[in-house]
């Protein structure tokens, strides 16, 4: 029994509240407790910083010959992504132009000079909500998530 439940029962015993009110209060407490204790979904980041980007490719166990399929399990630290993106600041102006041009040729209108550390943190923070779950026709399950 929690401290709050005990208080509610004491108030009922002292007739400060009636049985209906006590019932409602206890119900409200239960709801609040179950909400706060709800187990986090697998791979989801609850509070704190995301540490790893995970990519897994697993065969569907229900498919025949699934034991012969490839299995991939990659775990990339977020710090490595940060460090990698920060390398763009080392690219000299002349080369940056070429990179931007190559990106434009591929249909990506993006200027790598605009990548700033604060944007980077925002981008990585947003990755915490990323979850990709693909089931292919060949019986492979591809998952990309952050943990």
């Amino acid at each position: 029994m929690t401290e709050n439940q005990k208080k509610i029962l004491e108030m009922l015993a002292e007739k400060k509240i009636n049985t209906d009110e006590a019932y409602r209060l206890l119900n409200a407490l239960d709801t609040a407790d179950s909400g706060s204790k709800e187990s986090p979904k697998e791979g989801k980041v609850i509070g704190g910083k995301a540490k790893y980007l995970r990519v897994t490719v697993m065969p569907d166990p229900d498919r025949p010959n699934s034991e012969h399929a490839d299995r991939v399990n990659v775990r990339v630290p977020m710090n490595l992504i940060r460090a990698g993106i920060k390398l763009t600041s080392l690219i000299p102006g002349e080369a940056t132009e070429k990179v931007n041009e190559a990106l434009r040729d591929k249909g990506i209108n993006f200027d790598v000079r605009n990548v700033k550390p604060e944007d980077l943190e925002e981008l990585i923070g947003a990755l915490a909500d990323l979850e990709v779950d693909v089931s292919s026709a060949h019986g492979e399950k591809v998952k990309v998530f952050v943990e």
């Binding site: 540490k51 790893y52 034991e67 012969h68 399929a69 490839d70 299995r71 991939v72 399990n73 990659v74 775990r75 990339v76 630290p77 710090n79 490595l80 940060r82 460090a83 990698g84 920060k86 390398l87 080392l90 690219i91 000299p92 102006g93 002349e94």
Partner: protein, 92 residues
């Protein structure tokens, strides 16, 4: 900044070959540092030579950036396998 990885583990396995390696990076780092100190005059020369072309800053900051990327590899794990082949690389 993160602590650098202490050990790199590589395991490659196929029906013909089996190869496994635990590379103690904590022993290699001091050796790399000595090599870097020995080569630093050459790096400085390269920086001076490349500065007018716009690559000087890159050459100057590249060793530091490489060190940061190396430190960030701690926790990296790649594991690809099927019944015949297996490739595992991890930084601990």
């Amino acid at each position: 900044m993160n602590r650098p990885p202490m050990v790199m583990r590589i395991k490659i396995q196929n029906p013909q070959h089996k190869f496994g390696l635990w590379l103690p990076l904590f022993l290699i780092i001091p050796i790399a540092l000595v090599v870097f100190i020995i080569l630093s005059p050459l790096i400085l020369l390269a920086v001076i030579f490349l500065w007018p072309r716009g690559w000087g800053k890159t050459a100057l900051l590249a060793p530091w950036a490489a060190w940061r990327v190396f430190c960030a590899t701690r926790g990296l794990k790649v594991d690809v396998q099927n019944p015949r082949d297996c490739v595992q690389i991890s930084f601990v």
